[in-house]
């Protein structure tokens, strides 16, 4: 009897009530695990969606900008008194003064100095640029009176967008009662209009939120990433090929290997210090330049690319190498004709990850002066520049309230920038992908 119970046949065992219970428990465990997995994905996706939607929601006001139409008297003696028709002379006229004169004409009752200053605060302190650009495009308009849309100041802009509550008591509100009256005067004449905020994309940084744009940081990021790619991709791939395919397996190569892995875990600020000491202090390269930024980020990206490339090379089946060797291909031919093309998708994936990391990095750039207030858009890799993440950080720290939506908008632009970099890389990866 004991004999039969210890060595029961499988079919008999499966029919026993204990077995049925065990089977049920097994299915239950599987269902439970599925539920945990779904819950984990749900939580992760939920957090991501919440984060993205809150950023996008906060950024919406930054994509529009309010303009007020002013009648500007383009007096010849104020713009080009000697009829020189020289653009340099015309460009240096007192455009802001013309705007102030226009405002005074609209509200002749304003006389006190303090009131006048408040009146001038209706429009942006950079509004003169719009008048200048208009006149430079239409020089025949000099001498006449023209209605030109100029940007409102940031506080008025926020008020119109409803981000400043006009029901608050005057002492708690950034816009005074008088300004409200003047603004309502223009609104009543339908002279206040919202436009798409091209400034955000065409202008460089500014202290005035309504004048500040991302162009400088965007081009800075692009140049920095290009330098990073140009340096780290060839060096990383070559180093990985040598280490994986050609290097003798000895103590020196294993030390190098361990240290490359260590390098991948070094805090990024350390690379910044290194860049400051080596590239700027020793080699005397310009500070705040995309060239140095790219060099520093290359140091950071190299280990990622080397590790990914080596893993990708190692995953190519040895049968392909044997086939090529067996037919009389040299080691280099085996690598460049067979192994490298097959490993390319993996190498590109590693490069994308490395570059995406580099594009979002701020800490190392802090040390080499790329976290700086730079107004001009960089023209080459040695001109002064900042990068998108640094720009976001600086705007986020700015006490001007109007920088709040601008910060979110900059984050949206950075995300779109990263996504498009990744999309390009994925396109190339798909192109290289082969079946075997």
């Amino acid at each position: 009897m004991t004999d039969t119970s210890t060595s029961m046949s499988v079919s008999a065992a499966l029919k026993s009530p204990e077995s049925a219970a065990r089977l049920k428990a097994r299915y239950r465990a599987e269902r439970r695990f599925r539920f945990y997995g779904r819950a984990a994905i749900g939580i992760a996706a939920g957090i991501l969606i919440f984060l993205l939607s809150s950023i996008v929601y906060n950024s919406i006001p930054a994509f529009t900008q309010n303009f007020v139409d002013l009648d500007i008297e383009l007096a010849q003696d104020k713009i080009d008194p000697n009829f020189s028709y020289d653009t340099a002379i015309i460009a240096s006229a007192d455009w802001q003064g013309l705007i102030k004169a226009s405002l005074r004409r609209d509200f002749p009752e304003v006389n006190a100095r303090a009131d006048k200053r408040e009146l001038y605060d209706l429009v942006s302190s950079g509004a003169g640029d719009w008048v200048r650009d208009f006149v430079l495009d239409n020089p025949q308009s000099i001498g006449g009176v023209v209605r030109i849309a100029v940007p409102t100041s940031d506080d008025i802009d926020l008020l119109i967008k409803g981000l400043i509550d006009r029901t608050l008591p005057e002492s708690d509100r950034l816009v005074s009662n008088k300004e409200l009256v003047w603004l309502d005067h223009y609104t009543a004449q339908d002279r206040v209009n919202a436009q798409f905020a091209w400034t955000l994309f065409t202008a460089g940084d500014s202290r005035e939120p309504e004048m500040a744009g991302l162009s400088g940081a965007f081009i800075g990021s692009l140049l920095t990433i290009l330098v990073t790619l140009a340096i780290s991709f060839p060096i990383g791939v070559m180093a990985a090929i040598y280490l994986e395919e050609l290097a003798p397996k000895n103590r020196i190569t294993s030390i190098i290997e361990v240290n490359i892995n260590n390098l991948a875990a070094v805090p990024s600020i350390v690379f910044g210090l290194l860049g400051l000491a080596v590239f700027i202090s020793f080699f005397q390269l310009p500070r705040s330049a995309p060239l140095v930024g790219g060099l520093v980020l290359s140091l950071m990206t190299l280990p990622t690319i080397i590790i990914a490339t080596r893993a990708s090379l190692a995953s190519i089946p040895p049968s392909i190498r044997e086939a090529a060797l067996g037919i009389g291909a040299s080691r280099l031919q085996v690598i460049f004709h067979h192994v490298l093309p097959l490993a390319m998708p993996g190498i590109l994936t590693g490069t994308i990850i490395g570059l995406a990391q580099a594009a979002g990095e701020t800490a190392p750039l802090l040390m080499i002066g790329m976290m700086a207030f730079i107004v001009d858009t960089p023209t080459d890799i040695t001109s002064k520049a900042t990068v998108l993440p640094a720009q976001i950080y600086m705007w986020a720290n700015n006490p001007e309230r109007a920088f709040l939506p601008k910060t979110s908008a900059a984050i949206v632009v950075l995300l779109v920038f990263l996504l498009s970099v990744n999309a390009t890389a994925i396109y190339f990866r798909k192109k290289f992908e082969k079946r075997w």
Binding site: S319, I320, L325, G326, I327, G328, A329, R435
Partner: protein, 256 residues
């Protein structure tokens, strides 16, 4: 010694070490031209290791050392002046698992002639590809799809493609490392027929686990055991009246 009696390949006391482990204990073997020599023996006996000594494929394995001498046409292939790339062009190899390159059928066959600069122009290369595929008995099946991927073929076709690739550079010797172990009996029969057809032009050495295959395709057979050659001789004689008890036990299926 007449021309026909001089061995094509002569191994003299070939010893192979993988690290500290000795895989071959001094092999002496003569292999003659225009014959098929099969190497048989249980797994781990060193027959594949010996085969890979003939085209120095063991060179790429870390910690592998080869002692002794191996002559092809009286030339020591382990000598200082020997160029491995040239050697492997003269000694082709077909592997256990079909391993076509993930390229087109045409490029698979054309690869060898291309890297060795054998074809003067496109027409000559086209010719070489066609000839090789015909010799490998694959031309009829693939002539209309030369630019499809080599991996789109069936297992047996892939292995014949690998044979075509190996003979495209016109080697003297073709080494085959269990070429049919991944194939079904029909594909195996096709390959065996192919070996019979091309043996007049090449010297073929084949490692096999199938006694029947060794008996069918080879003229000479060498029985390996634990890194030694136990017996070598005419295939007929080995399979009908083996001189050694171990050989007899192996080929009749009692060990191995």
């Amino acid at each position: 010694m007449t021309e026909t009696n001089r061995p094509k390949i002569r191994a003299q006391h070939v010893e192979v070490h993988y690290g500290d482990a000795r895989a071959l204990h001094g092999i002496d073997l003569d292999i003659h031209a225009h014959e098929v020599t099969s190497l048989i023996g249980p797994s781990g006996c060193g027959k594949s290791t010996f085969l890979r000594c003939i085209n120095r494929m063991n060179d790429v394995i870390d910690g592998c050392r080869v002692n002794g001498a191996m002559f092809i046409d009286n030339e020591d292939i382990y000598g200082d002046h020997m160029d491995v790339v040239e050697l492997r062009a003269r000694v082709g190899m077909v592997f256990q698992k079909p391993n076509p390159f993930p390229k087109s059928i045409y490029d698979n066959v054309a690869y060898g002639p291309r890297i060795h600069g054998l074809a003067q122009n496109k027409d000559a290369l086209d010719n070489m590809v066609e000839t090789s595929l015909k010799r490998a008995g694959l031309w009829q099946e693939v002539r209309d799809r030369l630019h499809e991927s080599g991996s789109s073929l069936s297992g047996g076709q892939q292995q014949r493609l690998c044979i075509a690739r190996a003979i495209a550079v016109n080697p003297d010797v073709v080494l085959m490392d269990e070429p049919c172990s991944a194939l079904d009996p029909i594909a195996t029969a096709v390959i065996e027929e192919l070996i019979e057809e091309i043996r007049s032009e090449y010297t073929i050495v084949i490692v096999t686990h199938s006694m029947q295959q060794a008996a069918r395709v080879s003229q000479k057979t060498a029985y390996f055991h634990l890194g030694n050659i136990v017996e070598v001789g005419d295939t007929d004689q080995i399979f009908t009246k083996p001189g050694n008890k171990q050989t007899e036990a192996y080929i009749t299926g009692r060990i191995g």
